[in-house]
């Protein structure tokens, strides 16, 4: 906190000292672990170049609920010039009319098309993806070896995958095959594998279709059968925690787990592979998680803001983020990155996450204008079934009616 304050003071003094010569661009992003990395990105990679063009970045991470703060500051006219827009909330922010259309200002063709699509509406591109993530199966090699079970691999389908987890779980009462949360952000990927989509052709949601119900039963069944446990039941905050503490042999997460494992389980021998395939379709599914940099349509320093956005999404910036093990670059040209062929568990895992984007049925982590509210009813259904309080049929029809009501309310 004090360091942040000092940094802010230094930035402020620098700004005052160079007033007139420098244009100040306010950049807003997430709090948590993010500020340390973005500050380094600004200081070490892009800052000098921008300063030469007479642009100073004033970086203001937001520590509380990012979306709420952004809605308020956008409506009050106090938002930054350049800021994050999360993929899952992008449609809502685009609808405010406060995001600048970027297709004529930035070369959007340099970025992966599916990522541009997440931030597009009616032919306009309102955000440039800074990076992306997909889900992969992260497994503890030692636990699989101890149980004498083959590692999960790209050929596994749900049945063989569940079987492997059950055999690892049989090893010891304190060890589970997997640690999975009651989370739509994971279940959805399995439903995609079965051919289900977030919204049907008619714009409605179908949770009672066999495609969804099968995935739901598979995912919740991992817990009810005892092969997997929920993080809360192991005293963990999230699945990465269970994996790091060797309470579970598998966690289904994205590349964000890598930095956590590096810090919390430096000696863990782990591997990563693609999500198991649906036995019905023979395909796997995945979510594409992404966050974009966007420019405030009301910015008074629009040209400078666009330059900052370009710098933040430049090849140099993306290479830096990739090598920090944080996320996968959104630029097409970085796909054949020598980094991916390095011989380390991290690089191999990053490659799986990168290739996950084009492996089977992949859709953006996005829920129309109702945003992440979409997940609430499904999460509740998962929890109810995983804790054994309701059967899956009843839970799904409850979720269906809750979600339908939610969508009707949101419809104009």
């Amino acid at each position: 906190m004090r360091r942040l304050f000092t940094a802010a003071m230094v930035a402020l003094l620098a700004a005052i000292g160079t007033a007139g010569a420098q244009t100040i661009v306010r950049v807003q992003g997430y709090g948590g672990q993010d500020p340390a990395i973005v500050q380094r990105l600004i200081d070490e990679v892009i800052g000098a170049d921008l300063a030469a063009q007479g642009i100073t970045i004033n970086y203001e991470p937001i520590e509380t609920d990012y979306n709420t703060v952004l809605v308020n500051s956008l409506s009050a006219g106090t938002a930054g010039d350049v800021f994050y827009v999360p993929g899952e909330t992008a449609p809502g922010f685009i609808a405010t009319g406060k995001l600048l259309a970027l297709e004529d200002l930035v070369d959007t063709s340099a970025f992966i098309d599916t990522l541009n699509a997440v931030f597009s509406k009616d032919g306009h591109v309102y955000g440039i993806a800074k990076d992306f993530n997909t889900l992969a199966v992260f497994y503890n090699e030692d636990l699989f070896d101890a149980a004498g079970v083959a590692y999960p691999n790209a050929d596994d389908d749900w049945t063989s995958f569940a079987d492997k987890l059950a055999r690892v779980a049989a090893l010891d009462p304190g060890v589970y095959g997997a640690c999975i949360a009651a989370d739509t952000a994971r279940l959805g990927a399995f439903a995609f594998a079965n051919g289900w989509t977030t919204f049907g052709a008619d714009g409605g949601v179908d949770l009672t279709s066999p495609a969804f119900a099968e995935a739901f039963d598979f995912y919740s069944g991992l817990v009810t059968s005892g092969a997997a446990a929920q993080p809360a039941d192991l005293g963990a905050g999230w699945p990465g925690d269970c994996l790091a503490r060797e309470q579970a042999a598998v966690a289904i997460e994205g590349a964000w787990i890598l930095g956590f494992l590096r810090d919390n389980a430096p000696n863990l021998q782990y591997g990563a592979t693609f999500l198991p395939k649906s036995p019905t379709t023979g395909l796997s599914g995945n979510y594409l998680y992404t966050v974009a940099w966007a420019v405030n349509a009301d910015s008074k320093v629009r040209d400078a803001a666009v330059k900052v956005l370009e710098a933040l999404t430049s090849p140099a910036a993306q290479q830096f983020i990739l090598e920090q093990g944080l996320a996968i670059p959104s630029r097409k040209e970085l796909a054949d990155n020598p980094y991916f062929s390095q011989d380390s568990a991290e690089a191999r895992a990053n490659k799986v996450v990168f290739e996950g984007a084009s492996h089977g049925n992949v859709y953006g982590f996005q829920f129309g204008t109702i945003g992440t509210d979409y997940m609430g009813p499904i999460n509740n259904a998962l929890t109810a079934v995983m804790t054994g309080s309701v059967g899956s049929g009843a839970a799904l029809s409850q979720a269906q009616s809750d979600l339908t009501a939610l969508l009707q309310r949101a419809a104009p």
Binding site: N67, N72, L74, P91, G97, A232, G235, T369, A384, T387
Partner: protein, 378 residues
């Protein structure tokens, strides 16, 4: 009598800082909210007048009906529990006993602890593998030992009291100084006897813990409502019950302090006179303590109703750990519509709900005032 202008001006000047704050942050803000409640407004587009549509929409919204029910049940239960609890703890602490200052401080601790911290601790306690279920499991498993202890205590106490009364009746017939059923001295003996007997039985292997399965009540992630058979308006969702327990725990000390302050003003001579006339502790409590505290009870009940009807923070922190409809209250409903994640805010709708909450609170407090007044005048 009218104040002259010369006196009015300085008064106004002194009041100015307060009035300015009041006008800007309360009067102006409230007036805006009243206006918004009749419009369709999302912060980004200009408000459009829709008349009473928002108010009509409230009663068609499932979440609002849940919120209304939850708020009313919550207010009724928690206000009752906290007033009674505070009154009882205050009278217990209003004694001149060594070390009472320690107990007064200790009992007040929950009120000075941050409600966010307490909520997080309660979230842990109420988890499926949390402290509450652990305790219940421990009780269920050791039921034979606990049952034996209670049974032996009751038997020993009954025998002793019966024996003492017989002895007294023989010595001084008609005396009012008969032994009470829970006479402390006898109770200590009974407890010691029971503890000894239970230990012996345990060592002899008669009270082995039962191999009951671990109790895993799902307190939080559930839609279950209690009591199961009651009609909708009288049921409380289980997660809300958990919040009720927590809220009572944190608010009792504050109200206890108010009662304690008021109790210091009740003349000791009342109790002495009553004792001389043969009033027991319960009679003294109901006929001296409660009537003397009438104005404070009114204050405590009013504050309690206002606080519980507007309860928000604990629901917000329970947040996504529980199904929304199981904990949503009116105040949280307003917040939820005002800051709906990534959607455009429904300012008009949220304002209408806020106006409804304000009117409801006012109506309930006024009703409570008439009822308590009538009681006081009797």
């Amino acid at each position: 009598m009218r104040r002259s202008g010369r006196e009015l001006l300085p008064a106004l000047l002194f009041l100015l800082p307060f009035l300015a704050v009041l006008v800007v942050f309360f009067v102006y803000a409230s007036a805006r909210a009243v206006y918004f409640s009749f419009t369709d407004y999302d912060l980004f587009n200009a408000p459009a007048w829709v008349g009473l549509e928002n108010y009509r929409a409230l009663f068609r919204d499932d979440n609002f009906l849940y919120a209304l029910r939850n708020s009313l049940v919550f207010a009724a239960v928690v206000t009752t529990v906290q007033t009674a609890g505070a009154l009882v703890t205050a009278s217990a602490l209003n004694r001149r006993v060594r070390g009472m200052t320690f107990f007064r401080s200790a009992f007040y601790m929950p009120a000075v602890t941050s409600s966010v911290v307490i909520t997080l601790i309660f979230l842990w306690l109420f988890q499926r593998l949390g402290g509450v279920n652990y305790l219940l499991t421990a009780v269920a498993r050791n039921a034979p030992a606990i049952g034996a202890f209670v049974l032996i205590t009751v038997i020993a106490q009954t025998l002793q009291v019966w024996g003492e009364r017989r002895r007294w009746r023989g010595a001084a017939a008609g005396s009012k100084r008969a032994v009470a059923a829970l006479d402390p001295a006898l109770l200590v003996v009974s407890l010691l006897v029971a503890a000894g007997a239970t230990t012996v039985l345990g060592l002899l292997g008669h009270l082995a813990p039962r191999g009951t399965e671990a109790i895993a009540i799902n307190w939080l992630q559930t839609r279950q409502e209690v009591p199961a058979g009651a009609p909708f308006p009288l049921r409380a969702p289980l997660p809300l019950v958990a919040i009720m327990v927590q809220n009572a725990f944190t608010t009792i000390p504050t109200f206890m302090l108010m009662f304690l302050a008021a109790l210091q003003d009740v003349p000791r001579s009342y109790y002495e006179a009553a004792a001389l006339d043969g009033a027991n502790a319960a009679q003294q409590f109901f006929h001296i303590t409660i009537p003397s505290l009438q104005p404070v009870i009114f204050l405590v009940v009013s504050l309690g109703l206002i606080g519980t009807l507007q309860m928000f923070d604990q629901v917000a922190i329970f947040g996504s750990a529980v199904p929304l409809q199981s904990v949503i209250t009116l105040a949280y409903f307003v917040y939820n519509r005002m800051f709906p994640g990534a959607q455009l805010p429904e300012v008009g709708f949220a304002s209408a709900a806020a106006m409804f909450l304000a009117a409801l609170t006012l109506a309930i407090v006024l009703l409570q005032r008439t009822v308590l007044r009538a009681e006081g005048d009797r």
